[in-house]
């Protein structure tokens, strides 16, 4: 009769879990993956799968070595692997991709304490390490619908500046696996926003800043936002929970900073693309932004509106 269990309230929990959030992100990335499959062929799909499997394997290995509970089930490693693959050119070799995954999962994520403790987005750092180590391989863009026997490569549209808006939007251009089709990325982003997984504040601010800055600097704003990895970075990497500010004001500052740095690198530095560097720099600034923006304004912000 006695010995009833006593616990603190609340006694029921919601359905949302980390694994479900990550599953949503994977679902949102699938349209872009399909587009990559169409544009670049089977190698793109193979490479993405390879990166995901490597990421999960390395995650499990780290768990075992570090005597932590398995964290493969939360699927965050799979998302990291997928995002990293999306940031690679299709011509890259598997061992180079593996190196990127190793940096992302082992160095950036697990050595800092696993999901929730990493200071920077693992996929971004993986890509940057590869880009600095293998500049040639990482900028060897295959042109769309190539013949697997004789891969033709060309420059990114950021350099040529000669693609039509339609090709840029649909993905008929050279570039990394996941970044080519803006339409597919937008579809995934809309899914995430509708599912309330991501807050559109940071990505919209990011894109708007790039658009405005380009105009002011005398470039074609629309061309700039449609080319390169801006959509991928803005919607899927500048919205990473762990490494971006926690409230809306912070997210807006984050997006603005990313936009400025991206443009500065694109227009005035020696790299053609600056999205990943901008996100990494803003990741590092995030604790500072949080420190400045977390202000409790009790009860003033909430309005539960009545319904007729």
């Amino acid at each position: 009769m006695e010995n009833l269990t006593v616990t603190a309230s609340p006694h029921e929990r919601g359905n949302v879990s980390t694994a479900k959030i990550m599953t949503d992100v994977i679902i949102a990335l699938i349209p872009a993956l399909l587009a990559a499959g169409v544009v670049f062929g089977g190698k793109a799909l193979m490479l993405t799968g390879f990166c995901m499997i490597c990421a999960m394997g390395l995650e499990r290995l780290c768990n075992l070595v570090m005597k932590r509970e398995s964290s493969v089930g939360d699927l965050s490693a799979a998302v990291t692997g997928m995002l990293l693959a999306f940031n690679l050119p299709v011509t890259i070799s598997y061992w180079q991709a593996f190196l990127g995954v190793f940096v992302a999962i082992v160095v950036v994520k697990q050595l800092f304490g696993g999901l929730g403790h990493n200071f920077a987005n693992p996929a971004i750092v993986g890509r940057i390490v590869l880009m600095l180590s293998f500049p040639a391989a990482m900028t060897n863009w295959a042109i769309p619908f190539f013949d697997p026997k004789s891969i033709e490569t060309g420059a990114t549209p950021l350099v040529t500046k000669a693609e039509s808006y339609q090709s840029l939007f649909l993905g008929n251009v050279g570039g990394c696996i996941g970044e080519v089709s803006k339409a597919a990325l937008l579809l995934g982003a809309l899914y995430l926003i509708a599912r309330q997984v991501i807050d559109p504040a940071a990505p919209l601010m990011f894109i708007a800043t790039v658009f405005c800055f380009s105009h002011i600097a005398g470039y074609d704003g629309l061309y700039q936002i449609l080319s390169g990895g801006l959509f991928l970075g803005a919607f899927f990497m500048a919205t990473d929970y762990v490494t971006t500010p926690i409230n809306t004001l912070g997210k807006l500052i984050f997006g603005f900073g990313c936009g400025i740095i991206t443009c500065v690198i694109r227009f005035y530095a020696s790299y053609p693309e600056g999205v990943s560097f901008s996100i990494l720099i803003m990741n590092v600034v995030t604790p500072l932004i949080d420190m400045l923006t977390i202000r409790v304004t009790p009860l003033a912000k909430k309005t539960i509106k009545e319904e007729a």
Binding site: E2, P10, E12
Partner: protein, 434 residues
Amino acid sequence: MIFSGIEIRHKKNTAGAETIDLPLPETVRIMMEQTMGAPCTPTVKVGDKVYVGQKIGRTNAPLSAPVHSSVSGEVTALGEILLANGKSCDVVEIKCDFAQTKSPDVRPPVVNSREQFLEAVRESGCCGLGGAGFPTHVKLGVDPGKFPIDTLILNGAECEPYITSDHREMLENAQGVIDGAKAVMKYLSIPECIIAIENNKPDAVEKMRQLTATEEHITVRALKAKYPQGAEKIICHSCTGRVVREGEFPAHKGVIVLNVSTAGFIDSYLKTGMPLVKRRLTVDGNAVRTPCNVRAVIGTPLENILEFADCKTDIVWKLLIGGPMMGICTYDMSYPLIKTANALLAYTEPIRNKKYIEANKQTNCIRCGRCISACPMGLYPTELEKAYDKKNKGRLIKLKVNLCMNCGACSYVCPARRDLAAKNQLAKAFVLEK
């Protein structure tokens, strides 16, 4: 993630269940601490004969309400009972004679003025029936010179899952609720009344609208069904747009919030003079085979109520008084019913298979910010948790941990299953420590 309040699974299984009177138990144990505030001292001795509605516990403290016998019979013991919060409290045990003879003191009170009305409400032993149990006469008795009240809000939101006792009150005693509100408006000279109901109870909204169609000063509002809509400060904001700030009560903004069941009870007291000796409560939970609404006398052992609802008491693993979001666990099934219990939820032990463990495992915070969007007070639960873990008192105070009302919304939405609400409670106590 821009939503205000959270969506929860309502599980209102008993919304259509007519209230059934529970048979009288053999003995009742009536606690002397039924409401928020000072406990009462027993005014009866062992062997005394008591009648229904007779006062058996009183105190002179302003923040308190007297306690009445809920049955007629003989006082068999005066003892102590350990409360769930670790404090102990006097308890009067009465053996029931099943005659339910009314005490001669029970007669309609003479009420002609504000003072007489407040005295009558105090004598009725009335407290907020929504769960918190704030003595009603204190709430109504705010100085009108200092805080002119212009709006009375009748709270029929009932935002917790499972609970339907206020819903049934609005259907079964609709006229009583309205008359109670009118009495409060009349004696306290409050010009306006808003009856606020969540829109998941369309029948109650409809019924209230019909009955108040001719009343000029009473409006019925259907509020969005978002937890915690029924919290006093939130419903005050939802209905009037006024923000109750730190350290303030709704009265500071000219608003009094009363639960619908409280209003219904005030009406019945004014008409019959019978003090608060019984109440309606929802019996539900997965250990209960026949979820129902019962009307039980105060002091009924909880196991009697569970047995009435076809619940095998040996399979009960957790027993809650109140809803699943804010309810308090009891450790003993023979615990007596108190005035503030609007629900009794019995759960069986979950099967701890792999899926259950996976789903309930606490993992690292991923800083998704869901707790921040969910917090009705605009706090940062994840930052509070970190500050508490570091025992950083200065930061806890800066982040206003004292404003947490323990609604549990942050814990409910957390994808990492972190015990944010519990940590907030610990942090609140920690901040008050020297």
